[in-house]
Amino acid sequence: MPDTSEKDPVITSSLGTFLVVSSVLVMLTLVWALYNEFFGLRPWKSYERDFAVRYVKFLRKQIPVQESAEKAILASPDYQQLDQQVKAAEEQVKDKSDETDKQIAILDARFSAITETFTTERAYVATQVYAIEHTSLDNQTSLQNKLAKHEAGPFRVSLPTLPDGKIVTGDYTFQQLQDEFNKVQLDKANMLEEKSELLRPVSELRKKRDAYLTDHLNGLTTEQMRGVLKKTQDASIEIKQINNPDAGIVDRCETCHAGIREQVVITAKDMGGKEVFVSHPEPDLLTLHDPEKFGCSPCHGGNGMALESKERAHGQYEHWLWPLHPMENVQAGCQQCHAMDMVLDHAPVLSDGKDLFQRRGCVGCHRFQNYDPEPELIASVQQQLLLFENQRSEAQRNIARSIQLGDAAPDNDTARMYYTQADKLRVSISDIDGRIEQLDRRSKDLLRDTKKVGPDLKEVRVKMHPDWIPVWLTNPHAWRPSTRMPRFRLADNEVKAISAFIWQSGIDAALPTQPQGDPVKGKESFETRGCMGCHSLDESSPHFAANLSRVGEKDNYDYLVRWIHNPRERTRPYCPFEKRDLTEADYKKHGLPFVFDLDHSKCPNDGHELQVEQETIMPNLRLTIEESRDIASYLMTLKTKDPSSYAKADYLNDPSLKAQGHALVQRYGCAGCHEIAGMEDEGRIGTELTKEGSKPIEQIDFALLTREAREQGWYDHKGFFEHKLAKPEIYDTGRDWKDRDPNDRLRMPDFDLKQPEINALTTFLMGAVESQIPQRYWDAPEDQRRDIQEGWWVVKKYNCMGCHQFMVGQSSRLMTLPRYQTPEWRDQLPPKLMGEGARVSPDWMEKFLANPAMDSKDTDRDGVRAYLKARMPTFFFSPIEIRKLVRFFQALSGQPMPYIPPKLEPLTDQEIAMARALFTSKGAPCLKCHATGDPSHDKFATAPNFLLARDRLKPGWARRWMLDPSMIAPGTAMPSGLFKPVGDHYVFAGPTPDIFKGYDGDQPELLVRYMFEITPDEQRRLMGMSADMLKTSELIRIQEPVHRLTDSRQNRMPSGPIAAKIAGR
């Protein structure tokens, strides 16, 4: 057969190559898929495995270390002593406890012995009862009889019997068996309770001993660590996820960051350098913010759900709006929920940023919620006032209508209804009037609280040396590197125009000529009165207020004297209604003297509230005019050259420059920080920054630097802020920018910020975002914590921390000055305010804050601590701010408001005699340090007068203070150890007067009650009694009328005679 068949493809051609290629391809795909499954798509798996390996190794290494530390503690004498105590206590109760155990054992035996018989019979009785209930009536009686007979027994049981377990055999009826059965159980329960009562001291000691171990052992115990080890070894590889659907949080960060919540402190070194596995550096923060509720990404940023790569998880790719905050800005994450907080524990960088935003005057141009809110609040109060006025007139119309309707009513009931309606409306008007009054006052207070970052430029003519102004404007940093005034990029002609405008719009008035003071005394005053709490005399360290080292080159002496004497004094009051500064003529017109101050603050023309104070933070130190002159004379000596050496600036008076100057001042927003005539109502010229951190990046203008920023990797919010803050004009670039209309150029001036300041502000701005977290997660408490939040704004606003210590570990500025390093001067530091709310009565504090002299006439003094050279100044706080401060301190100490003083048991005559004896006994040093009002004594005094106690202090605090003041104010001059515990009370640690024989009351408490009753009269008596102890030769001379303190609240303030007594004047 010829081979005619065509070539059979089955035979002739082969798919081998194709198959080989495809199978190789399939294989490769599979390999790739497998690889991707295990490594590509799920890199986290290797992280988890790696963690387990490293952590197990670390724990294995660590457990023996901890074990030996534990052993050392177990061997320490303290632990041994505790252990001995436990053993001794065990020994002590051993016999009794063993006896109880024995009895319990007998009872157990008795119980089991009775159980068998009883349960068998009980079952039988139950069946019989069932049978009786289900049988015919005829049968019932016979069955009942049968059962009764059976129940009568007797049942013979042999029971072990207390106390020695002897077995007693007896006959019981069923009822007796049942009673015995119950009794045994009850007896056992009683016995067990007796035992636990017996062992309570032992178990308490044991708890104490075990607590000693955990307290002294750094970290977990060995046993706990073994548990962790086992847990880690048994852990399976899976995605670890925090899911809080309530807040829309899904965070899988812990899949890789597996060690973050471990209780064992894990460092990168422990994990072979793997940073990813460290435990959270601030576990306290995790306690405050439970990760199960808050997750990770709300604070840290990043894409919490992503697991496919580190970049995705950290949100470091385009179009993810919330990239992970870099380490140096990590505190940015706090801001979204803590916008209300001015001071944040755990977030010093952010707090710094918040502070700088205010202090460097950013707020002058950029609105930011909660910063300098007064003008806005005033506007809102005005709105509310309008609303109430409308309500009031409407109510008035309705009253008339209701009465009319009532008069014409067809019946009495209807008439009464209308009349009631009218009465309701009348009462509502009274209510509205009350509210309007409050709003009026609030508006006045808010005006008082309005402050400017920079000085009042209306005063330039009376304050400044004119030739200095252009020098300053050209480059403030060249003249004073640390100044807050930023550098505007001004051409010479612009400097001239602005200077001329400022000069010409200033108030032209003559100040009284002041005689020269003594600069030597002035220097001492300047350095000791407390000026240095805010001011400095050099370029070192950032400070709150101006560096005054060159004041002599620019200021007018007469003005400086007025300023130091009362910085709030204005040359003329400003009427916000008429929008101008009033003159003497305005007052004369109405036959009024030209007097304006906080008590005379109504416009004579139209009755509107006036701005009667300079809008400065600087308080009044209540110095005499002489001392003010001394200080001013000293400050005038501070100069590097004579003001006359500045180039003459005659153009200041050139009226043709004024219009150009005005336009420039408007363009640069000078009125944001300064008060300038005619520009009081200018708005802020910059962008609002409250949510700047989450503005879409496309809306942020990198201008021509966009490409460069992308290439260099700073095309993000952080990059923009940092570059802008370091060099605000950086985005003014390109070939044509110099030809651009000046209005199109960037106006933000140069602040010469240092790197840490840039970082702090960048952190703050990065955190200023439209939060993704529901508002209920924010830190916006309604309770006392809100008072704390609000208080910090005031504390920061007035730089209270320049002089006072608020927190242990925080230094006031004064504390850091060289002068205050010696033991003598350390005792001259202003008081520490830790626990202030627990110490002082809020009523007293309110009065003290309003007038720290605590006297309306004699103000050249300190109401509490006359012995301090530094003086608590008068800040002229408005009632709004006083309320905030008082509440702040009370809230910090968890004290309820209003404060109702506890009633103290009045002293009996015997107790008075005892208290006197103790106060004046040789051992009692109280009157050596505490002021008494006697000048010859008080020149040595280093502590407040006891007369203040009653109104100022809280009795419980006073007792705690006496017992151990170092627990309240570490480092205080008041010594500890004045009292020692005896039983449940304290007694004086020194020789106690004989009169105390047989007295077993609490002696510090007695002294507190005495202190709270003491009168000036009584105090003099004390001084007389201790004449041999103290130098009291001049004491008897004081013969002023004695004012007995009474309980009525009106008389509780030591004003007038008492206050005078306290001061010893």
Binding site: S23, V26, M27, L30, V31, L34, F38, R49, V53, R54, K57, K61, Q62, P64, V65, E67, S68, A69, A72, S76, G272, Q821, T822, P823, E824, R826, D827, K922, G923, A924, P925, K928, C929, F940, T942, P965, S966, P970, G971, T972, A973, M974, P975, S976, G977, L978, F988, A989, G990, P991, D1028, M1029, L1030, K1031
Partner: protein
């Protein structure tokens, strides 16, 4: 077959790689650190080779007039001195132009040795409302015992920078106060808030090599093992304290002399 082999091979490779990685870590792991012990044992010192540093501290300048202390704030103090004028010790200069109350100690060079603090306490007495001694040295961890010979209440208030601050009242006849300073510090001022003129200075050291000059202005530090040391002298003269350092090398059994001079500031 081929495929399975490949998978197997691949898996084996992965396992190998993993094991290899793991191994490497294992190798670089450190040995468990030695268990921490509470107090290191003192370094033995060969007493046959020890030397000595002696010297004199002089004052450069006219002898300043020491301020008079007025104690009339507490008559008890005045009585104790029976009319004698008391002056501030910080400003004292000896008649021979030397300085008393200078604290001289080995500032550095002795770090390689460990010393156990002596079991005897260092005693500070309050007598006539003055501290005795005015300047004293103590080793960190040594007991500091404060007694009072005055029939008035004092309070003892050391104001350290590096140590824990405390302030204890001591009534007449009360038990001595015993405290310790845990950390070295030059110098800790001590004051009594009730008698503000009272002042003592405490030098807390980590070694026993310190001395305080007396009325002849000399000092001697004995028992120094051979080596090179920085000797520092501290004086309160003319203010709040000034120091001066000198380096000295001591051979076996050698005695070297080091003199210091202070000015009024």
């Amino acid at each position: 077959m081929n495929k399975r082999n490949l998978i197997l091979l691949f898996t084996a490779l992965i396992i190998l790689a993993l094991v290899a990685c793991g191994k490497k870590e294992e190798e670089t792991a450190e040995q468990p650190s030695a268990p921490a012990t509470n107090a290191p044992a003192p370094t033995p010192i060969d007493q046959s080779t020890v030397g000595e540093v002696t010297g004199k501290v002089s004052f450069d300048g006219a002898k300043p007039k020491a301020p008079v202390i007025h104690m009339d704030q507490d008559p008890v103090c005045v009585q104790k001195h029976a009319g004698k004028v008391v002056t501030a010790e910080d400003a004292e200069v000896n008649d021979n132009g030397t300085l008393p109350n200078v604290f001289v100690y080995v500032k550095s060079g002795a770090e390689k040795y460990t010393f156990a603090p002596p079991s005897d306490p260092v005693v500070l007495d309050q007598n006539g409302c003055m501290y005795q001694p005015h300047v004293l040295g103590i080793m960190a961890g040594q007991t500091f015992k404060v007694v009072s010979s005055d029939p008035t209440t004092h309070n003892i208030h050391p104001m350290p920078k590096d140590n824990r601050e405390w302030n204890m009242s001591q009534a007449p006849g009360a038990a001595p106060i015993e405290q310790k300073f845990a950390r070295p510090e030059i110098m800790v001022p001590v004051k009594c808030n009730q008698h503000p003129w009272m002042r003592a200075w405490i030098g807390v050291t980590t070694n026993p090599f310190y001395a305080v000059t007396g009325s002849d202005g000399t000092f001697s530090i004995k028992g120094l093992p051979p080596g090179t040391y920085t000797i520092e002298a501290w004086s309160a003269i003319g203010g709040t304290g000034q120091t001066s350092d000198q380096t000295v090398t001591i051979g076996p059994k050698e005695s070297k002399s080091v003199d210091f001079t202070f000015k009024a500031s």
